[in-house]
């Protein structure tokens, strides 16, 4: 049933009794043309684009828990594309372009809100780095502009630009098309649209083994809901990628870290945009519900525990209170953690693996949400054709052997 104000009104008259399930919950078939392991936004999106763009209909997404229960449902929903390197610009800008029409594409309101992402500069080094971004982005045709501290305050009134701050705000880079979206809706929207195209979405099915034939090629996965055969398997499992790839004998350049986020109690609109500060480690926006959504840094040690230390979120609140002294009496309502898979160069790995038929899309670290549509789009093309999509090609696993890294973190000193 198509979603619209009209259908909503008609269903309301009927007491909403006839809304169907948003996605089917079939029993797994014995075999598919392709299996996606991981029912987050990237995995569901991959299945959707495989079906929509490449005509594959005999596809399954297997998810060990519930859809969108990993990082898709645990992040701070920041979307932007003002990255430094051309390879990064290409994939994140593709994503932003897809975000701009995603609600329509999926017939599901993902609430993409291009309210502007402002990255604060606190040192002369920050200024140099951000201006480099602004110039690089302008050359690439990506919006990103430099703001003086006063202009930054105009754009974001609660911001403290006092020169007496420990690390005063010396300026900001603003991407006006950056913003936020509703994270759960992305997973559900892709699931509903993929299911409508015939994709089987299989929840509560944990992959326990990846099967390979005599030649070493993939022939399927074993799950807690039975064996599922497939000649193409795409692993899109974020923090759990190392474990899954280990089942196929592939070692990965990944480490999984806890990443915390927190929300305040809801208040009336007070913060109109997204504000990021890498120097003092703070990321904050206000949800449509009114909560301040705040991202902290990762804990220092690898972990699969989905929690982190109080000192890590405390450090972020230190910074928030310094940058926004009017938020000091606001109260933290909920704090949670995700597991982020981090690569040595902080850029993702998208593509083929040494195992024929096995594909991987991982390593998004702390910045995967924004890339969801673009990542899914190029990964679907890569899986469909058996060779990297041009935008995915630089993000190959081989780059760690050749040394052709795409190091946003080192280059920019900016977290994703």
């Amino acid at each position: 049933m198509r979603f619209s104000l009209f259908s909503l009104a008609r269903q309301a008259l009927g007491g909403h009794a006839r809304w169907p399930a948003q996605w089917r919950s079939p029993e797994p078939k014995a075999a598919y043309d392709a299996v996606i392991v991981g029912g987050g936004g990237h995995g569901l999106g991959t299945a959707y684009y495989l079906a929509k763009e490449h005509g594959l209909r005999n596809i399954a997404v297997v998810e060990k828990g519930w859809l969108g229960g990993g990082n898709t449902g645990r992040n701070t929903t920041i979307i932007r594309s003002n990255y430094l390197w051309e390879e990064s610009e290409a994939i994140y800008e593709l994503s932003v372009k897809l975000w701009e029409t995603l609600s329509d594409e999926l017939n599901y309101n993902v609430m993409y809100s291009p309210r502007g992402v402002m990255m604060l500069a606190h040192t002369i080094h920050d200024i140099q780095v951000f201006k480099r971004h602004v110039h690089a982005n302008r050359l690439a045709g990506i919006d990103n502009e430099w703001l003086t501290p006063e202009a930054a305050k105009d754009f974001c009134p609660p911001l403290n630009i006092s020169p007496k701050l420990r690390y005063p705000v010396l300026g900001a880079a603003l991407q006006r098309r950056g913003g936020t979206a509703r994270h759960d809706a992305v997973a559900w929207g892709y699931a509903r649209a993929a299911s409508a195209l015939g994709v089987d979405i299989i929840e509560n099915a944990e992959v326990t083994a990846i099967r390979r034939d005599a030649s070493g090629a993939v022939e399927g996965v074993e799950t807690t809901r039975g064996v599922i055969k497939a000649k193409k398997v795409g692993v899109v499992a974020a923090g759990h990628t190392s474990v899954l790839m280990g089942m196929a004998g592939v070692r990965m350049p990944l480490e999984s870290y806890p990443l915390q986020a927190l929300v305040s109690e809801p208040v009336k609109p007070v913060l109109p945009c997204v504000v990021m500060s890498n120097t003092v480690h703070a990321y904050v926006s206000q949800s449509d519900k009114g909560e301040l959504v705040i991202g902290a840094g990762t804990d220092v040690y690898t972990s699969y525990s989905q929690t982190g230390g109080l000192h890590v979120s405390a450090h972020t609140l230190d910074a928030i209170c310094d940058l926004f002294p009017t938020f000091r009496r606001m109260r933290m309502m909920r704090n949670w953690g995700g597991i982020v898979d981090v690569t040595p160069d902080r850029s993702p790995i998208i593509g083929l693996t040494p195992v024929p038929g096995l594909y991987v899309n991982c390593g998004w670290g702390t910045g995967g949400f924004k890339a969801t549509p673009g990542s899914a789009f190029v990964f679907a093309a890569t899986m469909a054709h058996g060779e990297p999509h041009p935008i995915a090609a630089p993000f190959s696993l081989e780059r760690f052997t050749t040394g052709r890294l795409i190091d946003e973190a080192a280059a920019a000193a900016v977290a994703h």
């Binding site: 990965m252 350049p253 480490e255 220092v300 040690y301 972990s303 230390g309 109080l310």
Partner: protein
């Protein structure tokens, strides 16, 4: 804030006294020049990243300054054993130490 027992200081101290330094038992090749690009990449970047027991390096940076290794369960974050750098990964037959 984990509590970590430094095997040199023989006392449990808060995590903030320590610095995490990644997976343990990845030895730098003795003759890097003779190592293939693939093997060198494996040394530089490939990590076990297990869900479960992880042998990892810590340095008591705000204490004795020394590096040591720990066996930690990455699901519970419980540290089961700490031991000096350069010694082999122990089994867990002995009673757990480090943490409680």
């Amino acid at each position: 804030m984990l509590l970590i027992t430094c095997p040199y200081c023989c006392t449990a101290r808060p995590e903030s006294e320590f610095r995490y330094s990644g997976e343990a038992h990845i030895a730098r090749p003795l003759e890097p020049a003779t190592v293939s690009d693939d093997d060198w990449a494996a040394f530089l970047y490939m990590r076990t990243n297990p869900k479960g027991l992880h042998a990892e390096r810590w340095r008591h940076i705000h204490g004795c300054g020394r590096f040591f290794n720990a066996l930690r369960n990455t699901v519970t974050d419980q540290i089961l054993k700490t031991y000096p750098a350069g010694t082999p990964r122990p089994g867990l037959g002995a009673p757990a130490e480090g943490g409680r």
